[in-house]
């Protein structure tokens, strides 16, 4: 592909590993000035090194997306360091597997604050920052296949990811009323081989093979595939796409 993001500043949350890292690297390689955020500075440094090796510009900043003051700091950093904000990839999120009757209020609050409030705070901050540029912008919220279908043992996670899907549509309608407009879409990954999955289910080749066997395309999802989908939604190729849900799951959700 040609460089779709030349001179565009993009914040990618949860960019210290997995889907966020792959996205930061791809966007940087295609010309974006990336603010990669997260809570793991060592992981962030690895992302920056990989993005720079790909010929891109990338800066890591520590960030807890559930904290309102953190968002003010991140947006301010993006504007001061790289100029006006073009886009946001709201990727950071928590995941755990636990039966409903064992999920405590604290468990729920924790995942809700990060996944739902973190996404809300990000979109609110990004809308304001993009409006200051006087140019159009785009936001991609990373939901999940589990924001579209249920998964036994992940009720709290499903609740937060369903919330992101609904919130995304409302935000898309408000973003469309801005001048210039801001597009907002959600991405719904299936099982992607990332630390989020392996930390819960294990990291063995047998498990990866089992996930692949259980997926119509008979393959395991990789973070790079999600980065390609996010880049499509964020780019001008998707200029008429807003409020949409893009499912990238190897066909798992088609039945």
């Amino acid at each position: 592909m040609t460089r779709r993001f030349d001179d565009r500043t993009v914040i990618v949350t949860g960019a210290t590993k997995g889907i966020g890292r792959a996205t930061a690297i791809l966007l940087a390689a295609e010309g974006a000035r990336v603010i990669a955020t997260g809570r793991d500075a060592a992981g962030g440094a690895e992302t920056v090194a990989a993005a720079e090796a790909a010929g891109g510009v990338c800066h890591f900043a520590p960030h807890d997306i559930a904290r309102e003051d953190d968002w003010a700091r991140i947006v301010d950093l993006a504007e001061r360091r790289f100029g006006g904000l073009f886009g946001l990839v709201n990727n950071a999120g928590l995941f755990f597997v636990k039966p409903l009757d064992e999920t405590t209020e604290d468990d729920f609050d924790r995942i809700y604050r990060t996944n739902v409030e973190g996404t809300f705070l990000g979109v609110r901050a990004a809308f304001a920052a993009i409006a200051r540029t006087g140019l159009p912008g785009a936001v991609v919220n990373v939901s999940s296949l589990m924001g579209q279908v249920g998964f036994a043992g992940a009720s709290a996670y499903c609740a937060t990811k369903g919330a992101i899907a609904g919130f995304t549509k409302a935000a898309a309608l408000e973003g469309a009323r801005m001048t210039p407009q801001v597009r907002v879409n959600s991405l719904h990954p299936g099982v992607i081989w990332t630390p989020m999955i392996t930390s819960q289910f294990g990291d063995s080749q047998d498990l990866a093979d089992a996930f692949a066997a259980d997926t119509p395309l008979r393959m395991i999802g990789l973070p790079e595939y999600m980065a390609d989908a996010i880049a499509y939604l964020l780019s001008d190729e998707a200029a008429y796409v807003t409020g949409a849900e893009l499912t990238v799951d190897g066909g798992r959700g088609a039945d």
Partner: protein
């Protein structure tokens, strides 16, 4: 043609490619490096579309074919094999629209629309899957549905039936063909500036579309290219809605 080259070495069929969205899809796949067989029922327009791609340095050929005809699909597959030696991508885009209230909708009209819009996609999947199976490297099939395949629109019952059918046909085919790495996805345009929507006044309808305008054939072509390309290699049985936010409301 200036382009990414991401489809170089690939061969594609685009139906309904004589004008509008289909023509834009053919141009965009060719610009990305694919050899494209354009099909349709209007030879004059189809030959002109193929010639325009060739004039820009792309590989393209036109064949007069009706998406609703099984015999025409057999000829289409022979043609793509003769011309390009293989098939990797099918964009089944051909479709007709003829607004009518159910009370006044004759069975012949219902059947004529579904023959092209629904049965035509089924035949396309069937023939393309056979051709893709021949080289065993998988491929991508894009079925043109519509937002009317996801929400109802009064006066378009037969169109909605066909487009809703296409949406689920894509999912069933995706499950069946997935193990062979043949991906099948549906694309759902909203109101796009084409001959099909020429009867609708954009100035009147724009306020009810969140992005405030109709889309362009190029914007649908960019989505079709994404679905055809390896950038969507983990995507199958999925829906891509390109509607300016219409059905998010």
């Amino acid at each position: 043609m200036a382009g990414s080259g991401e489809l170089s070495g690939k061969a594609a069929i685009v139906t309904g490619a004589t004008r509008g969205i289909g023509r834009a899809v053919a141009v965009s796949l060719a610009a990305a490096g694919a050899a494209v067989l354009l099909t349709g029922r209007t030879p004059g327009d189809g030959e002109a579309a193929a010639a325009a791609i060739r004039a820009l340095g792309g590989r393209a050929r036109f064949l007069a074919a009706d998406q609703g005809s099984d015999a025409d699909w057999t000829r289409t597959m022979e043609e793509v094999q003769d011309a390009f030696g293989r098939l990797d991508i099918l964009v089944a885009n051909a479709g007709i629209s003829k607004p009518a209230a159910i009370a006044g909708l004759a069975l012949e009209d219902f059947r004529a629309l579904n023959r092209i819009n629904l049965k035509g996609c089924f035949l396309g999947v069937k023939h393309a899957a056979a051709a893709l199976r021949r080289h065993g490297e998988g491929g991508s099939i894009v079925l043109m549905s519509s937002i009317v395949g996801k929400v109802g629109v009064a006066g378009h019952a037969h169109y909605a039936a066909a487009k809703g059918g296409v949406r689920l046909l894509a999912k069933a085919a995706a499950l069946e063909l997935g193990p062979e790495k043949i991906r099948v996805n549906s694309l759902h345009p909203g109101m796009i500036r084409t001959a099909m929507t020429a009867a609708y006044d954009e100035r009147l309808l724009a306020p009810s579309i969140p992005l405030g305008r109709f889309g362009t054939p190029d914007e649908i072509a960019a989505a079709a290219l994404f679905l055809a390309s390896p950038r969507s290699r983990f995507m199958t049985g999925a829906e891509l809605v390109v509607d300016g936010g219409w059905i998010a409301q």
